[in-house]
Symmetry: C2
Subunit: 199 residues, 2 copies
């Protein structure tokens, strides 16, 4: 009957745009919306609009924020001489849970991946170089995932950054090879941070 | 960081309301919304509102529709003397894909489940009895899932319907026990329909 339910089909299509949502799941979600109370559905729609409207990238670290600067960049108690470079905002969240890291971050929003057509200029690398160029940063910890793309991106950054006179380190292989940092437990992340090494 | 991104947290909460969406998945989806173009996000929000506004239950079969009657109930070429009782609208979609069934449907919107506090009066059983009471229906095929709740609901319906003089049948056990009809392949559903038996 879905062929008649155009508005349901359209809604499923929207869910299907989201990362990791397949066709069946998208349709299940669309049905699920129909089971919400009308006000809940209206709130849901509003939440999408609000999130898009309020959240933007921090002009310093490129992490998501709903303020002018993100709370980490705005925090004078953090160590602004140490920058941890991560793939995406979710990794910042994972790192912050460790509660051991007191430096700042830089979010690349992706990894270099020629296979997927992602080149360095599509990532926030230029912004990182500008930050380092300002001279306040002493160490850049590259905390990309220990995968082929993560390693390649780390190598690329290291080659660009070392000439600028900063220490470039990489998380220790405490994180299991091939894993996603987002799913690493806190102790693993802590150990990886402690044992970080120069690249 | 998530503690600062109130609008992201709220959005993740909304995704979390949907059936089968856990906390991690909900957060991943919320992040994914931020990666959409602004117009895509606006369309997404609008699609939720539209689906809720346009889709209601068919007054005859209780299936979802965006018309006065659903296209199956409105179709004079279908066999209105045969009613297939299903748990939810998704099962109607699965059955329609078989293209062998020419009768109509009745959507219960759930199964009797004392464990989950779902009693017969919360389902569209009253509406089914009214339809059968009108005298046009000759056979009711109970196509609930072959699970404990599905069987219990089938038994309950059979006891109510037989005194009204209709033939009450059940899908043959072509569908694997414990499975979800929505995921049954078309041949299995076809065989199950062919081999249906009285209950």
């Amino acid at each position: 009957m879905a062929e008649y339910l155009e508005s349901l089909r359209v809604l499923a299509e929207k869910f299907g745009q989201l990362e990791g949502v397949g066709k069946k799941t998208a349709m299940r979600m669309a049905y699920s919306v129909l089971e919400l109370e009308p006000e809940e559905a209206a709130d849901f729609a509003q939440a999408i609009v609000n999130a898009k409207e309020k959240i933007h990238l921090c002009p310093i670290c490129q992490n998501l924020t709903d303020r002018e600067l993100c709370p980490i960049c705005a925090d004078s108690e953090r160590d602004h001489a140490t920058v941890c470079v991560v793939t995406d905002p979710r990794t910042v969240m994972a790192m912050e849970k460790v509660r051991e890291y007191r430096g700042t971050y830089h979010v690349l929003h992706g990894l270099i991946s020629p296979m997927n057509g992602i080149t360095p200029d599509q990532l926030k690398i230029k912004e990182l170089l500008t930050r380092v160029g300002e001279g306040e940063i002493e160490e850049v910890i590259v905390a990309t995932n220990p995968t082929v793309e993560g390693e390649a991106t780390a190598m690329y950054l290291s080659r660009l950054l070392r000439p600028l006179g900063v220490r470039v380190t990489r998380l220790a292989y405490g994180v299991p090879v091939g894993a996603d940092l987002e799913y690493a437990d806190e102790i693993t992340l802590f150990r990886a941070l402690e044992g970080r090494r120069e690249v």
